[in-house]
């Protein structure tokens, strides 16, 4: 589709806004000023003051000399940005993609929108009348490119540049209309290049050498030979469903119905595109202006309405309907391609996997994702490092689990110190005391020496013994270090079955 852009230039953005707030100011010349290097400098000027020869950047004392009746107000830093942002959101009624053009403009990507107003003229006229009736002094340009629209808005005679006519439309305009900085624009003017048409015939490398890369880029962008991108103030979610409610909604049951309806629509929409949901957000707009949000996430792309509903159901109690909710919006924040596989009659593995992924989603939604672990073998001898957490649920082990050495069924996360009596070094102990209880050792196996992995952690090696006491209980003990280096410490590290 051919792209069309509209740029709006607010000539007196801040002062118009002041006039809107204080209607009595509309007929008076006034400026907004801020201190700069010990003087008050004009930051914004209204149309009446401007017609009297006052301009931005002048010192207030000089202005007062020109126009003694001039009113001066304090300029607040960042006002125009805030105003533009609010106006951009207001402009979303004309197109979903609205971007800021600091310091005093807006860019609207109107592709595919004007026909809703009948024609481009009617569209532009609607924007113009609405904004001027609010008291803003604006100029509008419309063209195939942002650059051309910007140029005609500031310097052109006709607001609309017909499709593919930007070369002709830009020809009579001054080079400053190309969004150049003042230094370059002045230099062009000084060299007698008063019109953009003068630049068309010039060799490109000469232009680049004399005026910099920027001039060429701007020229190309204005003529549509180079793409230009804008950042919308509110990014458009491609998968979104909204449900306005006639009556404000206050009960959990009604919210359930709303979620079900939205999910049904969203999943049908996703199904057509072959996508599945990974992350979704439900926003509930309350009639008192408050916004309530609940979000869900899944382990695997899914468009199973029942399952997704169950995930939302767990979060419904956290919504506070208060006076009532008037609008629900459900967005798919994250989607993934999802292949629908043909179901086999006898082979149930695929279905099982989906069911388990859904179970884990529900558990993760209730108790948190961190609680769920799946372990895979890791190639380390140290018992604490012999396994690792799998990063995804589907991950399968790269190596096999080792069973060549005995390992306990219960392993203490932190080995607990014990007191032992050992007949001679490197022999298993005769007895040990753990938590104040004496265990006489009847049978023992070992030692199995496991060295510390010095590249991971410094420490002593461990000599592991499997022992069995007189009651038949089996333990996994270890001695840390050599006897010759003093009195080594003994620890209990696990319980055998």
């Amino acid at each position: 589709m051919k792209r069309r852009y509209v740029t709006i230039w607010f000539q007196h953005l801040v002062t118009d806004w002041m006039g809107r707030k204080h209607p009595e100011l509309k007929q008076l010349p006034f400026v907004m000023a801020a201190p700069e290097r010990g003087r008050m400098v004009v930051k914004a000027v209204n149309n009446i003051a401007q017609s009297k020869g006052i301009d931005e950047g002048m010192v207030v004392a000089d202005c007062r000399a020109i126009l003694p009746s001039l009113q001066v107000y304090d300029a607040v830093e960042g006002t125009h940005e805030r105003l533009l942002h609010a106006l951009a959101e207001w402009c979303i009624r004309y197109t979903p993609v609205v971007a800021l053009d600091l310091p005093d403009g807006l860019i609207l990507d109107t592709s595919g929108c004007p026909h809703l107003w009948g024609s481009e003229q009617a569209y532009i006229k609607d924007i113009y009348t609405k904004l001027t009736s609010y008291g803003y002094h604006i100029r509008i340009g419309m063209a195939d490119t942002i650059g051309a629209a910007w140029a005609v808005a500031r310097y052109g005679k006709n607001a609309i540049v017909e499709t593919c006519m930007q070369v002709k439309a830009l020809s009579p305009l001054p080079p400053a209309a190309l969004r150049l900085d003042n230094v370059v624009a002045d230099r062009l003017d000084k060299l007698g290049l008063k019109q953009i048409s003068n630049l068309y015939q010039m060799p490109r490398n000469a232009l680049k050498r004399r005026f910099g890369e920027m001039l060429l880029t701007r020229l190309d962008q204005a003529l549509g030979q180079e793409a230009e991108f804008i950042t919308a103030v509110k990014p458009v979610e491609p998968y979104q469903e909204r449900l306005p409610c006639l009556e404000p909604i206050r009960t959990a049951k009604a919210i359930e119905i709303a979620i079900r309806k939205l999910l049904n629509r969203l999943c049908t929409q996703l199904g057509k595109k072959g996508k599945g949901l990974r992350r979704s957000l439900l926003t509930a707009y309350r009639i008192d202006g408050n916004i309530q949000k609940i979000g869900i996430g899944t382990n695997k792309a899914s468009r199973h309405v029942e399952h997704l509903f169950k995930l939302f159901e767990l979060k419904i109690p956290s919504i506070e309907p208060d006076l009532g909710i008037e609008l629900f919006i459900m967005e798919a924040q994250d989607v993934e391609d999802m292949v629908t596989k043909q179901e086999a009659i006898w082979h149930e593995k695929e279905r099982d996997q989906t069911a388990i992924a859904e179970l884990l989603d529900r558990i993760a939604g209730k108790v948190g994702k961190e609680a769920i672990r799946k372990y895979l073998p890791d190639e380390h001898y140290m018992p604490e490092r012999a396994f690792k957490s799998a990063t995804t649920y589907d991950e399968s082990p790269a190596t096999s689990w080792r069973i060549d050495t005995p390992r306990p069924i219960h392993l203490l996360s932190k080995p607990e110190p014990i007191e032992v009596t050992v007949p001679i070094p490197d022999y298993p102990p005769m007895l040990f005391i753990y938590k104040g209880k004496l265990h006489n050792i009847r049978k023992a196996d070992g030692p199995e020496r496991i060295e510390q992995e010095w590249w991971l952690k410094a420490g002593l090696f461990r000599d592991y013994y499997c022992v069995e006491d007189e009651a038949g209980c089996r333990y996994w003990l270890f001695r840390s270090g050599h006897y010759k280096d003093g009195d080594p410490k003994w620890f209990l590290h696990g319980f055998f079955a």
């Binding site: 149930e348 593995k349 279905r351 099982d352 996997q353 069911a355 388990i356 859904e358 179970l359 884990l360 529900r362 558990i363 209730k366 108790v367 609680a371 769920i372 672990r373 799946k374 372990y375 895979l376 073998p377 018992p383 012999a386 396994f387 799998a390 649920y393 399968s396 082990p397 689990w401 080792r402 069973i403 005995p406 390992r407 306990p408 069924i409 219960h410 392993l411 203490l412 009847r442 049978k443 023992a444 196996d445 499997c466 022992v467 069995e468 007189e470 009651a471 038949g472 209980c473 089996r474 696990g494 319980f495 055998f496 079955a497």
Partner: protein, 243 residues
């Protein structure tokens, strides 16, 4: 009705009663491989019931023995595929150690939680999911009401549940079909060789609905259970009514 004897009628009725009580046989498991023939005799219809089983342990050693026995049951009595959900408050189970009981640790999804309410919710939710092979839950307290919820979930989904209660304040009545106690006993090495033998437990089946409580000494060796000696409790303990 000519050909049917009184015995057959009673057998038939008993089957119907069992079905009403939610008893369900385990799917066809090759009997030879289990090594638990003696144990299966304690259960109704000589088959391990798909139900919620309760295990009690009162110290760390018994807890380890119980988890070892459960791992053995999981690997021997249930199909060798499918996901096992293992819910616990503080995870002591060492994944590498499970492999010793022929159980692939990567089949298990461990869920570590902080409070018992969440544990119960997760166990119930997992038991409701028909695609899960089995659910193991470790907690300490289980009330009758809670256990009945779990049992009802199992009866709908036919997933076996193992509830391991560690250090319960009281051994209260619960709706589980069986109650077990596993204690480690001294291992026996062949011909008195030095060193440790295979894991050996005193397995007490204290309660079993429609079955015969009993005690065995069971050894886990060569990837299988071996019942070493049997001593029926039925002479000493009369059937304890469960549930």
């Amino acid at each position: 009705m000519q050909g049917t004897s009184k015995y057959e009628i009673i057998q038939q009725l008993q089957k119907e009663v069992l079905a009403l009580q939610g008893h369900r046989k385990a799917q066809a498991v090759p009997k030879e491989s289990i090594g638990l023939d003696m144990i299966l005799k304690a259960f109704p219809e000589n088959s391990f019931p798909i139900a919620v089983h309760e295990f009690l342990s009162n110290n760390s050693e018994n807890a380890a023995a119980t988890n070892g026995f459960i791992s053995g049951l999981l690997s021997k009595l249930l199909p060798s595929y499918g996901v096992i959900v293992w819910v616990s408050m503080q995870q002591l189970t060492y994944p590498v150690g499970l492999k010793w009981f022929s159980l692939h640790p990567d089949r298990i999804v461990f869920i570590n939680l902080t409070n018992s309410k969440q544990v119960l919710w997760t166990i119930e939710e997992a038991l409701k999911c028909t695609s899960v092979a089995a659910v193991v839950g470790e907690l300490s307290e289980l009330s009758f009401k809670q256990s009945r919820r779990l049992q009802l979930a199992v009866e709908a989904s036919h997933v076996t549940g193992f509830i391991h209660r560690h250090n319960p304040t009281s051994e209260n009545t619960v709706a589980c079909v069986t109650r077990w106690k596993i204690q480690p006993v001294a291992s026996i090495t062949e011909q008195g060789l030095p060193g440790l033998g295979f894991p050996r437990w005193k397995v007490q089946l204290l309660k079993v609905r429609n079955g015969q409580p009993a005690t065995w000494e069971i050894e886990w060796s060569a990837g299988n259970f071996h019942v070493r000696e049997q001593q029926s409790l039925s002479t000493t303990i009369y059937k304890i009514k469960t549930g």
